[in-house]
């Protein structure tokens, strides 16, 4: 039997269609789902920290929050607030502050807990104990954003206060420990912790603190202050921590 020219064309076209459909089917598996139209504005982001997060009754702690893209920001205990800011609070009992940031495309929440300790620990009378207590009572730690070792403006001020204390107590030697949150890889976090400790150290050096009073060490994610897997805990672990050297 001899096929006509148009029969040939039909067969070839049919084959091509079959192959094309097959190929398209495969491609669908590999390719990403169709991207939805971009939302009018990105969902808000929010963070809320308390420093210090443990106080004695009557003392003040500073709440600091930061949001992006939010049109409406409220903190349960404080009411409507600016998109970013900080405020001193004096809770009478342990309180979890709850921030809600909203815009048209979504809502983001953040919390920070301030623990109120009712009675101060009994003072120790040994002289080294006093120095150590004086040190830990005055030297405030520096906290960092995720995967960052940049000291923010807020903590530049903290370091200025730390430097003033150190200048008033020129005999004190200390270690700066760099710490990271549990996310990411062990070795990279060791390096990141060193960069955090050194970032704090370099600012103290610029403020006139002599390098021979300071040692730095990174603990990466090996010695966390807080072991829960959530942002408020991770925040506590991303820090340059000051330790008095006897």
């Amino acid at each position: 039997m001899k096929l006509t020219r148009s029969q040939w064309i039909r067969i070839i076209v049919a084959l091509a269609v079959v192959l094309a459909v097959g190929a398209c089917g495969k491609k669908k598996v590999a390719s990403a789902p169709p991207t939805p139209p971009p939302p009018p504005s990105p969902a808000p982001t929010a963070s809320l920290t308390a420093n210090p997060n443990t106080i004695q009754a009557g003392q003040a702690s500073t709440l600091t929050w930061r949001t992006d893209y939010a049109t409406d920001v409220t903190i349960d205990q404080l009411g409507k607030v600016d998109p970013s800011g900080s405020r001193a609070v004096t809770p009478a009992e342990s309180t979890t502050y709850h921030l809600v940031a909203k815009n048209d495309s979504g809502t983001q929440e953040a919390t920070a807990r301030i623990t109120v300790v009712s009675s101060p620990p009994p003072p120790q009378q040994t002289s080294s104990g006093t120095d150590e207590q004086l040190f830990s009572g005055n030297m405030k730690d520096v906290f960092f954003d995720y995967d960052s070792y940049d000291v923010s403006a807020q903590y530049q001020q903290v370091l200025q206060a730390d430097a003033r204390f150190l200048q008033q107590h020129p005999g004190m030697k200390f270690t700066i420990e760099g710490h990271c949150d549990e996310r990411g890889s062990t070795e990279y976090n060791l390096a990141l912790g060193d960069n955090r400790a050194n970032a704090a150290n370099q600012i103290l050096a610029q403020l006139g603190i002599s390098a021979d009073r300071v040692r730095t060490i990174s603990y990466g994610k090996e010695k966390p202050f807080c072991t829960e897997s959530n942002e408020s805990c991770w925040q506590q672990n991303r820090r340059a921590h000051f330790v008095y050297q006897k």
């Binding site: 091509a16 192959l19 495969k26 995967d147 890889s185 062990t186 070795e187 060490i217």
Partner: protein
């Protein structure tokens, strides 16, 4: 006629396109993985004589030999349920046609016998080509060691490696290799050692502080690691010959993540002495360290190209999230090899062709995917994903034959060590006690 030509060329292009699309899913490591596997039958070795109380040695031997051959990745193991009822212990007891025809349908047959007598373990083993009845013997071996569990495993490993060397394209097997790793099962993170299959786990260091990142020397005599000392993190050295820590040069700042060049001459590591973590290299006998990187941001986790020792890959944070970079071993010619996400823990394959590393490819809140093990062809930067979103996977390390990768994973909750073939198949859990991390495969 023009119409035919157009239609035919479209057809041709479609065929090419489909075949290319499917070819991208393949990873070829150039070590015989992915080629047709040899069908191998391994009946239990016949127990000829035994001292009282040593019957378990025969079971240990048989299980170890089977596991070694199965794990090798180059055999199609004929199931024991298909074997003839009478198992040969010596050449005169072999009826090759029973093995070469279905159901075992084996191409190769490994068999032999064990005799445990007067406190010594004697093993005779043969490898026969079942399809060549005229001259079947490929291998005949005899072993004698004091009768104990460790030697039953050792002899099985040696015989397995002989078979793998003969049938695996001349690439030596890894059944006698060791793994070094970090375990916290003693209460603090210390350096431990185990056989490649997870047997015989031993604690090496007793620092009581933190020990991390063990890397064994190419000659297998020393393990470099990093530990917290009174002078911060230092590169420390454990002698496997002396069974204790030996001195190594201390440096300023924190020092960690040591890596041996494959000639054993140089150790690359990360140090914070300049106030910024950078990669340095130092002679493995000590001396002054040479700085290789100079950039803002963390630089850590170096690994040498073991084929040439002319290149180092490492993890840099100079652009934000960590990425993998390569450079010449003098610090020049820096090339970024990953283009996105969070990429850490590179390990360079023995043939110099591939980097294995841990990658969170789409990084960010709510982004899909976890930390998985990937392999990248260094020249073309084409990559393949080996683990698929089962927990957080990190610290891959190549076996000396390039056929296996050992890594850590949190897939069962706590972090444990697993091995797999370099195509991601045949995953085996090697540790269970405590948390176990940062495995490093010995060079031989």
């Amino acid at each position: 006629m023009k119409k035919y030509f157009v239609v035919l060329s479209i057809l041709f292009l479609l065929i090419i396109a489909t075949s290319l699309a499917s070819a991208q899913d393949w990873i070829r490591t150039g070590t015989g993985l992915g080629v047709e596997k040899v069908r191998l039958a391994v009946p239990d070795f016949k127990l000829v004589t035994t001292d009282t109380g040593t019957q378990n040695l025969s079971a240990i031997f048989n299980v170890t030999l089977w596991n070694d051959l199965q794990t090798a990745g180059i055999f199609d193991m004929a199931s024991k349920s298909f074997y003839p009822l009478s198992v040969p212990g010596a050449p005169q007891e072999v009826h090759l046609n029973e093995w070469s025809s279905p159901p075992p349908n084996a191409s190769m047959l490994a068999f032999g016998n064990l005799a445990i007598q007067g406190g010594s373990l004697n093993v005779q083993g043969w490898l026969y080509d079942a399809k060549n009845p005229q001259s079947p013997q490929v291998l005949g071996k005899q072993y004698r060691e004091p009768a104990n569990d460790a030697n039953a495993r050792l002899i099985a490993h040696r015989f397995a490696d002989e078979i793998i060397l003969r049938l695996g394209g001349g690439v030596a097997g890894v059944a006698e290799t060791k793994l070094y790793f970090v375990s916290n099962r003693s209460g603090s993170k210390e350096i431990w050692q185990m056989d490649y299959d997870g047997a015989d786990q031993k604690q090496l260091t007793h620092m009581g502080s933190i020990a991390l990142s063990p890397h064994v020397s190419p000659d297998g005599t020393r393990v470099a690691y990093s530990g917290v000392t009174k002078e911060g993190w230092q590169i420390l050295m454990y002698s496997l010959e002396l069974g204790r820590a030996v001195s190594f040069q201390h440096f300023g700042g924190d020092n960690y993540s040591p890596a041996w060049s494959s000639d054993g001459q140089i150790i690359a590591f990360s140090s914070s002495r300049s106030g910024n973590t950078e990669i340095y290299s130092v002679s493995s006998t000590g001396g002054s360290a040479r700085r290789l990187t100079e950039s803002k941001g963390p630089d850590v986790s170096p690994t040498w190209n073991p084929k040439t020792n002319a290149q180092i890959a490492w993890v840099g944070g100079r652009t934000g999230l960590p990425q993998i970079y390569t450079m010449a071993s003098d610090g020049t010619n820096v090339v970024r090899v990953t283009d996105q996400g969070y990429a850490v823990s590179p390990s360079w394959s023995p043939n110099g062709q591939f980097l294995a590393f841990a990658w969170i490819r789409h990084y960010g809140p709510g982004a899909p995917g976890a930390s998985d093990i990937y392999v990248m062809d260094v020249a073309s930067k084409q990559w393949a994903q080996l683990t698929h979103e089962e927990g957080r996977n990190d610290f891959p390390s190549w076996s000396p034959d390039g056929r296996h990768i050992v890594f850590q994973s949190s897939r069962t909750g706590r972090v444990q060590i697993y091995s797999m073939l370099a195509d991601g198949s045949e995953v085996r859990q090697l540790t269970t006690a405590g948390e176990n991390t940062q495995p490093n495969w010995s060079f031989k």
